[in-house]
Each structure stands twice: as C-alpha cells, then as structure tokens.
Amino acid sequence: MAEKNSNLYEFTKGIIKQNPTLVTLLGMCPTLAVTTMAKNGIGMGLATTFVLVCSNFVISLLKNAIPKAVRLPCFIVIIAGFVTLIEFLMKGYIPELYSALGVFLSLITVNCIILGRAEAFASKNKIFPSVLDGLGMGLGFTLSLFTMGSIREILGTGSWFGFKIPFLCDDPMTVFIMPAGGFFVLGCLIALVNKIANKKPPKEISCSGCPNAALCKGQCRTESEEA
C-alpha cells in the first residue's frame, strides 16, 4: 500500500508511525517547555507546522541551487526567515499566545525536527512529497504537544481549555504544570507508546534526526562510549 499511495504515506507516516516527539524523539525542548496548557501546545504545534511546511517547500525548490558544502547555513537562514514571519503574524493576531510562548517561538529556528526534515527529506525529494511530509510531521508534533498539554493541564490545574472539571479542580496537583511534571509526563507517554507499539524503547536519542550528524558522523556517540 505504501508503494501505491506513496503521497498518502508521506503524509501519514509523521502523524503516528514516525511521530517526531514520541517515536523518533526530536524537538524535546518545546515539547517540555510550552505544554503547561493544551492551548499553548496546539499554538506551538501549528506554528512549527507552518514553518516546517514552508521551509520544506522552499528547500525542495532550491535543492539543486544550494551548494552541498554550505547547505546547513542556507537551511538555517531559510528557516529563520519563516520563524520571523510567524513571530510577526502571532504578535499581530494572537498576542496572548505570543507572550505565552515567549522565547520558544524564536527557538523554532533550532528545532531539530525542522532541520532534520530539511536534511533528511526535503533536500532529496520533489516539492509535493516534501510539503506533505512537512504537513504530516507538523501535525504529528501538534498531536503529541496537544496530548501532553491536555494531560498536564487537566492534572495540574483541574481544567481543560479553561473549562473547570468537577472534582479535579478542587485539589489540583500543581506539580504537573511545573518543570518536573513535564519530564514525568513525557517519560510516561513514551513508555506508553512503546507498550502499544510493542517494541523495545530506543536506548538513546538516535543520530538520524540530528542535523549535525553530517558534521560529526556519530563521533559524539563513540567519544562518549570510549570515555
């Protein structure tokens, strides 16, 4: 089926099968930082999706024009340009979300999902699959951010999207919206995904999504193993 509907496959693979945060473990920083509320999670996810789709589109267009030696700086500039754009849009139209996301909006630039997809997919594929790939990965990212945000908001504040939940809101467990709760919920979610997928959890974060893999060629890993 993957052969027949390859475009459909490019789109759906990012949502569940290769979900960037829960399966390939990329983009952990925003996942942990902005998910104190479900709303922030969705906002961050959609902003990242926008940047991912646009940068995949442009990089795929320019893939033959960019010299291989300087491709990473080129990718970063393209991505940073779109990040600046979304910053402006958010500041203008949804200022409360803009201030809630704070510095993490600028930090979309160095989100390893975007550079990783640019390096691994968009710079090697045609425009249409690249856009679909970006859209799928972005929606997968949004989905996991939304899930994390919901769990933390419901347990931590006893409400969901601002609606109070009976019984829970009387005595919320504040630790869940604190940094410690973020690590805990993400750990449990990854374990849950492993349980459902019935596979062994990854021992460590893989090099496949690391944008620097081309530069370091896994040296960072071997170095730490030798030590």
Binding site: C29, T84, E87, T109, P179, F183, C188, A191, E204, C216
Partner: protein
C-alpha cells in the same frame, strides 16, 4: 551585587535545563559519562560567552538601522559562523584543546540554549556586563545539570525497570526527580 544575583539565579533558581527546558537534546544525549559531560559543558560555557560578546554589538547595530526583528536570523548566522571559525582555529593552533572539546563544537550550533541565552539577554534588557554574567551563569548551570545527571544515569543503567520503561523513559523520569530537587531553590532570590 546584581551580578551575583544573576549568577545564582541562572545556576540554581532558573536552571537552564531543568526548569527552562533548553538544551534537552545534549542533556539526554551526552550525559552518559562524567568525562563527556565536562567536555560538553566546557564547550557550551565557552561558546555561550563568546556568542553573547558577539551578538550584543550585532543587536545594537540592528537597532541602529531599525531592523531589530531580524535578530533571530542574524544571531543564528553569527553563532553558526563563529562555531565553525573556532573549530578551524582550534584545530590549527591548539590541538590538545581541540581534542578535548572539538567533537562537541558542531553540536552546539543548534543547541537551543545558546540561541536562547542571546535572545534572553536582549529580552531582559541586560547591559553588556550583565549579559556576559548571564551567559557564564547559564553555561555553568548547563554543566552542573549534565554533571549531576551523569551521576544519576550511571546508577539507572544497572536498575531493573519494567521493559517498556527501559532507556529514554526511565531517563526522563529520573530527570523529573532531579528537576524536583531543584525546585527547592525557588524563592531564594
């Protein structure tokens, strides 16, 4: 006095990794051994201070022309260029230092803590010296978190977890407990 406050605030109260969630990838990836934690930490402190020293005048320049909104683009370019430059210079001039830190340098370009610090300095309205102090403090905080956590991880490796929790989930839950202990510092400033 305010410099000491910034330093303590960075290292303990608002620890860059454990309460601001920047630089999680190297935190989880490199913290397996104490030796590599120290190497990575030293490289991050070095790059953070230099990046702050460079991006501060760059921002003033952007401000002069009224194009502050380009700071993300300008900063990431400056940092990427600087890291490459340091790598080349270090390889030629200081081979022993390169051997110790070289591997970690390319990894730092996309470490969000470095970009986060330079943007944070601007957002908080720090002056030049305060920015440098903030960079030093954040670098120290990163190193402290990595060092502490490498000790914790050495113990985790030998524990008998349920099969689904082995590896990254267990590491994250351990990080949650370390982060919980850092909550004890909140309120000392």
């Amino acid at each position: 006095m305010s410099y000491i406050l910034i330093l303590i605030g960075c290292v303990f109260v608002n620890n860059v990794v454990l309460s601001q969630f920047m630089g999680i990838c190297p935190f989880l990836g490199v913290s397996k051994q104490m030796k590599s934690s120290v190497g990575m930490g030293a490289a991050v402190i070095f790059v953070m201070i230099c990046a702050t020293a460079i991006t501060y005048p760059v921002y003033r320049l952007l401000e002069h022309f009224g194009i502050e909104y380009l700071k993300t683009v300008a900063f990431i370019l400056v940092i990427a260029m600087f890291v490459q430059l340091v790598e080349i210079v270090m390889k030629k001039m200081m081979p022993p230092l390169y051997k110790a830190l070289g591997v970690y340098l390319p990894l730092i370009t996309t470490n969000c803590a470095v970009l986060g610090v330079t943007i944070g300095n601007i957002d908080n309205g720090y002056n030049f010296l305060q920015s440098l102090t903030n960079a030093l403090g954040t670098g120290l905080a990163f190193t402290l978190a990595l060092l502490l956590f490498s000790g914790v991880r050495a113990r985790i490796e030998n524990c008998d977890f349920p099969e689904t929790f082995k590896g990254v989930p267990a590491t994250l839950i351990a990080a949650s407990i370390v982060s919980l202990s850092f909550m004890g510092f909140s309120g000392i400033i």
